[in-house]
Subunit: 303 residues, 4 copies
Amino acid sequence: MTVTRKLQGVFVPNLVPLDARGEIDEPELRRYVDWLIARGAYGLYPNGSTGEFLRFTAEERRRITTIIVDQVRGRVPILAGAAEANTRETIRACEYYSTLGVRAVAVVAPFYYKVSPNNVYAYFREIGRNSPIDVTLYNIPVFASPIDVATVQRLSQECEKIIGIKDSSGDLAHMMRMIEAVRPIRPDFSFLTGWDPALMSMLQLGCDGATLVTAGIAPELTRKIYELTTAGHFDEARRLQYRLLELFDTVMNSADFPEGVRNALRLRGIQTGFGRQPLADEARQHMAAFDEKLKSWLPVENQ
Amino acid sequence: MTVTRKLQGVFVPNLVPLDARGEIDEPELRRYVDWLIARGAYGLYPNGSTGEFLRFTAEERRRITTIIVDQVRGRVPILAGAAEANTRETIRACEYYSTLGVRAVAVVAPFYYKVSPNNVYAYFREIGRNSPIDVTLYNIPVFASPIDVATVQRLSQECEKIIGIKDSSGDLAHMMRMIEAVRPIRPDFSFLTGWDPALMSMLQLGCDGATLVTAGIAPELTRKIYELTTAGHFDEARRLQYRLLELFDTVMNSADFPEGVRNALRLRGIQTGFGRQPLADEARQHMAAFDEKLKSWLPVENQ
Amino acid sequence: MTVTRKLQGVFVPNLVPLDARGEIDEPELRRYVDWLIARGAYGLYPNGSTGEFLRFTAEERRRITTIIVDQVRGRVPILAGAAEANTRETIRACEYYSTLGVRAVAVVAPFYYKVSPNNVYAYFREIGRNSPIDVTLYNIPVFASPIDVATVQRLSQECEKIIGIKDSSGDLAHMMRMIEAVRPIRPDFSFLTGWDPALMSMLQLGCDGATLVTAGIAPELTRKIYELTTAGHFDEARRLQYRLLELFDTVMNSADFPEGVRNALRLRGIQTGFGRQPLADEARQHMAAFDEKLKSWLPVENQ
Amino acid sequence: MTVTRKLQGVFVPNLVPLDARGEIDEPELRRYVDWLIARGAYGLYPNGSTGEFLRFTAEERRRITTIIVDQVRGRVPILAGAAEANTRETIRACEYYSTLGVRAVAVVAPFYYKVSPNNVYAYFREIGRNSPIDVTLYNIPVFASPIDVATVQRLSQECEKIIGIKDSSGDLAHMMRMIEAVRPIRPDFSFLTGWDPALMSMLQLGCDGATLVTAGIAPELTRKIYELTTAGHFDEARRLQYRLLELFDTVMNSADFPEGVRNALRLRGIQTGFGRQPLADEARQHMAAFDEKLKSWLPVENQ
């Protein structure tokens, strides 16, 4: 049983297309979902950092997930970002997403405030005890309070509902320490990396999968690297991993995250619109300067 | 005219008492407002970092401000934290608070995501152009994207509605650079420090006032330091500034911010309840260990 | 006795003029010493960070101090930087400088390696116990292992030879905490700030003096601010403190520290030569672009 | 020709045993050299960070290298740390080591001072142009000014004498960017990682080798991981990489770096003595508490 439930493969932390008024563009979001699945996305992850969860209202976050669930119709598993204003609101979001039939929710550690490790533990313990649906921890120390190894170990021991972690630190040693500390006691616990440049290396070290910014732009490529690596074809996997880094660097250098993702997707034919964070003229020009490089890169993946 | 409108004195970034169920404790919040005004608060500042704006829903943030406005009844000016999920929601909050009759709103720079300076500028420009009410920038680089000197200067030049900045960096040089860059072109622009240990020094360097965590615990003391410093009584001001640092350090070391403020207020007789971020047992014990020190400190200020 | 011995006033962390071959330019160094004393330097501080102690050999460091002592001939006190490769070499340097008749030595905390607080304590304790001459601690956390408040307190209690600290952190709260912790038990202990933008504020909070980069360029100005502040003329002191910040920013922005100091001194007529760290062409051009601004600034101080 | 010259395998940044008076223990150093070679060290690297180059005098650094060269007698290549007080002294050290017949020198980027990228470039260019012996760049951003990708690319293009880089950042993406930028134009350029937890991953991504702290404690293990990985036996390599991380974490957590290495070596029978940085009593006790764990770990590698 456990084996079939484990989160695996490369999830897409999917971005939300917006229309000219800045509202959720539902038809394009539905088209984007199909586009991703057709190109090999293993799963979707609404309301993540790439999905700009913080720039939508609580109602919009629910609507985004509802649309995606409806469009996916069970073809791939969904990991729904459920972080809300406080523990109670987050648990309510877990309850709501549970009724939609998503595979699990993902909850980022407390952010803005710096919360110390034992209170990060207390936060997730309360969620883990009260959520009716499986929970994935989300560690992204550049944006939120870090989740340390001891915390992951305690939570995995005490909360059956907590079934995995997405770790975007990109720190190999940290991932290895977590795997070493948790896998013996919770073989079903899933380790997903959120750091694109380390996809191949993290899989080789024992990660179960990933949720990657670039998977939303080039799902064919991230799927290929996953398949090649898990099949032991490292030379070809390495070649593609270098290609992926190039895409990642180009997108990240083109604009404040995640506006560069929005732009790259436009070049692939998804009408993502402009994000809700206003862009200065200089920022727009800077971003446009990367279009040629991106265009020359992207078609190769389309072949 | 300008003189009477300028923000001055020490504002209280007021915390919100919660009841046993974690709901806003309206009677105690009203009592706390009166308590603060009776002890010398120059103004109130709901929905700041100390006010845990992020841990309330959008509806609760409006309710908190509404209660405070109603309780204050014009006795002191109110600076309402208006940061919402995105630019449009923030502008809507500005519109709403405008109808309540607050003095101005305060808007923190974009957080979670790292927004580069020119996009921070674009963000505030859009708010400055569309807000019906005066806007105060809020720079708190440990929690949010920094607002640099050039950005403050551009915004002060281009947006009349932007009338001041609360700067919690505690960086003397940064404050001086801002004053140097802005005061000649906008003499009405107000500079408020948000760094308690630097209150006296910042005032001596030309700041107009402050919004301080400790002002919510010992408003008598912060008022006294403000009065002594602006009157040129530096020896006595310095003595009290050292006392204030002691209180600040004790509160900040006792718990993750702002739970230590909640605890210190309990010792002064305000029933603040426990915050919405769960506390680990170790954290509660750690906090309790500071009670004696706080108690021995606080009565002195009550004399 | 103690009163007369206490370090006070603004010391100059003096730079070393180099000739065209990169060797110590002794005649110009002697001329610079006289120039500084004529313009109001309270004391000199060879082998500090501005003096690029690390870019000279151990022999050169001794020679620099010997030249300066000889040129000063007792007119002002000298604080000699004595940090060497290890504790024993540092103690030998203390012994050597002791024979020259300098007022005290200054020893930076261990650098390159990150040394934890209790080992920083062990390091200074060994020096404090074995030095035949008074020792000043030197805290500069951007370059070296930090010296925390508890360490300063323990050292001040246990080592009579340790008589002060130069703190370049620029952190007001840190300085206040040190003064609070040490002054009651060691009233003779001297607190010198090494952060130019905070000179006036640090003096007002109780510092005894400073050692400032800008004091090597405009000793008249730093002396004036010291005198005005200690005499209670704050309005004029503040005006000059803003001027000092402008000089500091211009120099620091013009080049990697301390090459900008070298350049500014050239504009004041001291033939400092070029430093031993090679400069890229772009760096030279960047530095030259600040010359006009510096020239327009410096003459005012010469009036 | 080029192929045979390329730096490959795992070098040992070897520590220097000290006697009871803190002097270089030459007999034990010689014994340690033989011990390392017997257990599989591919090469030695005196005067690195683990070798505490900064805590020896310039004369001692030369003596250390001379002893090692004499003891090695050509059995393995030697990479001699040559960073001295300034560019000219460093070039003189290059000249000296050149006469000893070492394979190459390694030069760390300027430290203490923060040197900007174009001046880091200027520094290494001057060394690259004047050194009579091959030079390896040494990037260790936690201790010294970082060497960025563009700098490595320019230097590899312009200076034939610069033949490789040791990079201790542990950043996979940074390593990949360097390899991508340099390998096409300089196939002979060698990339060595200095981050123990990433040994296997870095080799899989194309690194030529490593210089690792743990290689000085368990050279059998690092050699085995190198051999298994380059031979494509990843499952066994991964198992040992997890073992290596355990050793690395234990050593690094036991004391300020590199005193924990000294201690671990004592447990393997090398009389390393105590380092020149004094240790507080608490630090000694803390270190001793790791002995049991280390002893239980080390014998396995001795089997």
